[in-house]
Each structure stands twice: as C-alpha cells, then as structure tokens.
Symmetry: C2
C-alpha cells in the first residue's frame, strides 16, 4: 500500500460510472482558428483517469506541432460529475489561465456540454465553452472562446481515438 | 514525431533552468492538521515535468491514506517561473478549488515561496500559502491555509524523496 500502482484498481465511484467511457488515453489531431489568429493544426493527447473512491475524474491534455512535435498548449484539472446529470470542471492552463466550467452530461448520447462560469488570470480570454461527443467510438470536441475583442465562437476542434 | 515519447527530450527552457532541480517524481509522507479538523498523516507523490520549449513546469500531486492506500486529495497545474525570480503558479484541486499563486524563488537556496492571489470555487478556503525547500536533497513543503473561520496557519507539511 505505497501508492506505487501495485495495489488493485479501486472501484469506480458511482458518480463517475456514467462517464466511465471517457477513462483512458485518447490521441489524435485537431485544428484551431479564430478571427484574430492564423488557423493551425495540432496533435493532441488527452487523458482521463479516475483515482477511485472519489467522485472525480482527473483530466490532462497536451498538444504539439504536427511537423516538429514541439509542445504547444497543455492543461489539466478535474471533472466532477453529479448524479443529477450536472457536472463541474476545473482547469488550469499552461498559459496561466484558470477556469471553472459548469454544464451537463448525457450518459446515453455520450455528450458533455460545458460553459465557463469563471475565467481568471487571463488578459484576453473572457469565456470558454466545450462540447465533447463520442461519435463511432471516437471522441470529438469543439472549444468556443470569447475574448475582449471577439464574441463566443469556434476556436478548436479535434477528433481523438482511444489508445 | 507523434508525441509518444519516442522523440528526444526537448531542451529545458532558460526560465525553467533555475528550478530544474525540481523536475522528476517525488514520494514521501506528510501530516495535516487545522484547528477545525483532526490531525492526519498521508502518503504523497508529487511530479514536476517540463514539456520543453515553454517556460512552464507541469505540476501534479496526489495523496493517499497510509493504512489503506485509499486516494485522498489530488491537484495539478503549472508553475511559471520568470527570469527576475518571481513565479506564478496555477492549480486546480480535486475538490473543485482553483487558485492563482504568486511568489518568488531563490535558485541558490532552493526555496520557493508562494501566496495565493486568487482562491475561487471554494466555500470555506480563503487563502493558501506554500513554501517548498530542498533540504539535504529532500523536498520539504509547508502549506498554510486561511478559511472563513480561521486565520492563515499551518495545514500540511511533508518530506519527499526523489525517485
């Protein structure tokens, strides 16, 4: 019992069960754009893990340039689903931005919709929305963003396969 | 160049150099207490990793009960050191709390001092301070906390060895 991973996997918390399809490592490609920047493509790895016992999913994500593999963005945090179908997500970004997202999940349609309740420590970003959908076994997401200059609109989309 | 870890490690960003001694995985034990709770001991693993190229250190931490190995707390985020000796740290906690910490580091004495600038999405916690010190090759930290009922005072301390 030393936390070294030799103990058996703890049971999945009931609150996490409806989102257990997310657990694991996902990898794929995405593309980004916004009225104020040139569009770009990226590679991405996204990980959902469940510490067990707690009603929490740990989330971490990193992206890289497709040509060079050079690291780009990363972010990490926690997904906190509730039995009533609502969910709270807290995220720290490598840029220094932190956010609280609130939303809902639909376990049958395998869709999670999130909208920022708080975005802090960011000079330009004012609002972030994320939708994750499982489509034919692949995880797709769309991230929308609003800045001090631009209203909420698509910023990122990606399609990821489970490893 | 697929992000799978087969490419050579990217160079350490100059801003991260003074804190490169932190990079790696640390494990050990800690103890916690506060006027409003019973004191407790815990096992902990703490990881600092550097994505390369960016002036950022990724941080993640988890704790478990010493007797059963049952997961307790976890948190993750990013340390953003600046060449002038100041540092900004953003953290998301498994409890839903998010925080922005500001502080300083001393590369010679291997001490990092952090104080919350923002604590959000928490009902009781109002303020968090952290001091990390390297002592005889071991990483020690002290976390102080203030709540709506109690002024800033020691909450956690731990001593960790690098794996």
């Amino acid at each position: 019992m030393d936390g070294s991973g030799t103990r058996p996997a703890p049971p999945v918390h009931p609150a996490v069960g409806p989102l257990a399809y997310l657990l694991g490592t996902w990898r794929g490609q995405g593309e980004g754009g916004f009225p104020t920047i040139a569009s770009f493509k990226y590679g991405e790895e996204l990980q959902f893990s469940h510490p067990g016992n707690k009603p929490v999913i740990a989330y971490s994500q990193k992206t890289w340039k497709l040509d060079s593999g050079e690291p780009m963005h990363s972010e990490s945090g926690y997904w906190r689903p509730k039995p009533d179908g609502t969910i709270e997500v807290v995220i720290a970004q490598s840029t220094g931005l932190i956010e609280v997202q609130k939303g809902t999940y639909n376990a049958e349609e395998k869709v999670v919709k999130l909208q920022s309740e708080l975005v802090a420590n960011a000079s330009k970003v004012k609002e972030i929305a994320r939708v994750f959908k499982l489509v034919n076994g692949e995880l797709s997401y769309v991230v929308e963003m609003a800045t001090h200059l631009t209203s909420l609109q698509p910023h990122l989309k990606a399609l990821l396969k489970k490893l």
